[in-house]
């Protein structure tokens, strides 16, 4: 746009006319983005106001940082942050590397048909709803569920437990079920990157006497490093983003001390308790931290690895 000189209005008009169909195709989405992405950004200001749902945002009185002060001084915030970060780091340290390992091992399989079958099966859970999965888990982990049945038979426990009602089991249940659902799907992008590695590299390594381990460590892994870096940047910036659907399904009154995370807190306090401004304060806190983490991780990766998102 900047290359159009101001005194050239006529030719801009002409260009617009010539592109009328193209603009007709492009502009509705621009309007859509302004309405559904940018107007809500204006709504962020309710975090600094005392907003009530019955009046428009502009009529609400300013309260400055009062909601943030209340938030940071309240015990709830410490609990919510502990749960969010606890599950976030577990996901990062356990959930992030596993699909890479899965892809590396799958790539070593020679039998194409078996490989395809494993892929087909392992992608499937990604397409199931968390409601259905939550239902399955309640069935498995319930007091007459298969889990208790097996543990009782093996003598590991002597009394049936209702695992989903125990706060101390909750993080583990969330992380393991998330891995169960996303392991295969998480590997798909690495497998795509591996498919692009030139076979000549492996042939040359074989001539030089490299075994499978050598090839995996010195050819395959370095080749998917750019993909790993990019996904790691996104994973780090998403550390405060929990899987909302998953936790909404699995949470209950008994495990609340372990299941209250930022996203759930926003929903619970905002919609159930009608404290929109207060809930928006924590939501804004999260968005800003995520943006800072994204820019920081991106910068770090650019300096050390040479790979970055932008």
């Amino acid at each position: 746009m900047k290359q159009i000189p101001l005194n050239n209005n006529k030719s801009l008009g002409k260009r617009i006319f010539r592109q009328r169909y193209l603009l007709f195709m492009a502009l509705p989405a621009v309007v859509w983005m302004i309405v559904f992405n940018y107007i809500p950004m204006y709504g962020i200001i309710i975090a600094f106001k005392q907003y009530r749902i019955i009046k428009p945002i502009s009529a609400a009185p300013w309260v400055g940082l009062a909601h943030f002060k209340e938030l940071f001084s309240e015990g709830d915030f410490a609990m919510v942050m502990k749960n969010t970060l606890g599950m976030g780091f577990l996901r990062l340290f356990v959930g992030f590397p596993l699909p890479i390992l899965f892809a590396l091992f799958l790539n070593e399989l020679g039998n194409i048909r078996f490989k395809k079958a494993v892929q087909t099966i392992s992608y499937l859970p990604h397409f199931l709803s968390w409601v259905v999965l939550g239902g399955i888990m309640m069935n498995w982990l319930g007091d007459v569920g298969i889990f208790n049945e097996i543990l009782l038979k093996l003598g590991i426990i002597d009394k049936a437990r209702f695992f989903l009602a125990e706060p101390e089991s909750f993080w583990g249940i969330v992380v393991i079920s998330d891995i169960w659902k996303e392991l295969g799907w998480g590997a798909i992008i690495y497998l795509a990157a591996m498919a692009g590695i030139s076979p000549a590299l492996y042939e040359a390594a074989t001539v030089d006497g490299a075994n499978r381990w050598h090839k995996m460590l010195h050819i395959t892994l370095p080749s998917i490093m750019p993909t790993i870096s990019i996904l790691l940047i996104l994973a780090i910036s998403g550390i405060l983003t929990t899987n909302f659907d998953q936790i909404l399904v699995l949470r209950n009154a008994a495990n609340q001390t372990a299941s209250d995370v930022i996203d759930i807190f926003v929903y619970r306090v905002g919609f159930r308790m009608n404290r929109f401004s207060y809930a928006q304060a924590i939501s804004l806190f999260k968005s800003v931290v995520a943006l800072i983490l994204l820019l920081g991780a991106n910068q770090f990766s650019k300096k050390t690895q040479g790979h970055s998102l932008f």
Binding site: V131, I188, S287
Partner: protein
């Protein structure tokens, strides 16, 4: 050389065993759920069923399939998924085609505001307030209009369109077709792999989503099947906790458990049926998307 191939075999065997175990761990919970849903409800509570129904029964299914509110939410989900997916794919693809043309006035600006939306948003509450202000809450269109466009999907479309030979478009232009016509008649028919990929992503999201059904609509007629299932499960979860206390099971609890299982199977069936047909496309689609990063 011989020694090496022996080593490779041991390695292959270990990986194969790990893969078989992973596949078993993936399939078995789903299989177990299906088996239980086909077993007699009271008998299932005794436990000990692992591989096959012990007392085969279709009662749960006949209860579910004759329940008006389950049927109506199933149909609601079908309509929402079809309409939502078709409008999303067409609108996002059309925009992607326009955005992929370098000559488009304001292109860099449009791409910049789009990219920003991928990394920052107002959050749930401002979004809810917007939908309230434009009177979309509690309407069918709340499932369609706010989900019509997705900038990440636009990027996947754009990378695909870059691979379409320009000569095809040029010949259409010489014949006097404008861009909209070229897009509909030439580009879309050539873009089936990417259309199938995005349609699968969006269709699965629409079908599986239950949160929009909780938060943006109240009307029971507008309730999708996933939301219906969520309410069913949330209810039984709280009653299960109460049942931890002495007093044991009631007949309704046993019944609701098997109905829950049957509803879960029915709510998942459409995805499982569509999945094998779509699989060959989405692997390709992911590849196209990942090239661009």
């Amino acid at each position: 050389m011989k020694l090496q191939s022996k080593k490779i075999d041991a390695f292959t065997i270990i990986i194969t065993i790990i893969m078989v175990l992973i596949c078993f761990a993936t399939i078995y919970p789903i299989w177990y759920t299906i088996v239980l849903s086909f077993n007699d409800a009271a008998d299932a509570q005794l436990g000990g069923i692992y591989w096959w129904p012990r007392e085969f029964s279709l009662e749960s299914y006949s209860t579910v399939l004759t329940d008006d509110s389950i049927l109506s939410s199933f149909i609601m989900s079908l309509i929402r998924t079809v309409v939502g997916t078709v409008t999303h794919v067409f609108f996002t693809a059309m925009t992607a085609y326009a955005f992929s043309k370098k000559k488009l006035i304001g292109r860099n600006f449009f791409l910049a505001i789009g990219t920003f939306t991928m990394f920052f948003n107002g959050g749930l509450i401002p979004f809810y307030l917007l939908l309230k202000n434009i009177n979309l809450l509690n309407t069918f269109l709340v499932f369609i209009i706010p989900t019509m466009f997705n900038f990440f999907h636009l990027i996947i479309f754009t990378s695909f369109f870059k691979g379409v030979p320009e000569s095809l478009e040029e010949s259409a232009m010489i014949d006097g077709a404008h861009e909209l016509r070229t897009f509909v008649q030439i580009i879309l028919p050539l873009s089936m792999p990417v259309i199938a990929t995005i349609a699968l992503f969006q269709g699965v999201w629409h079908w599986n989503d239950f949160f929009w059904g909780i938060i943006f609509v109240n009307d029971e007629v507008l309730q999708p099947i996933a939301t219906f299932l969520y309410r069913m499960i949330a209810e039984s979860s709280s009653s299960q906790m109460k049942m931890n206390m002495p007093g044991g099971f009631t007949a309704t609890a046993v019944n609701s458990q098997s109905i829950k299982l049957a509803t879960m199977v029915i709510a998942t069936a459409p995805i499982v049926f569509v999945y094998p047909f779509m699989q060959k496309y989405f692997v390709k689609g992911i590849m196209i998307g990942s090239v661009k990063g």
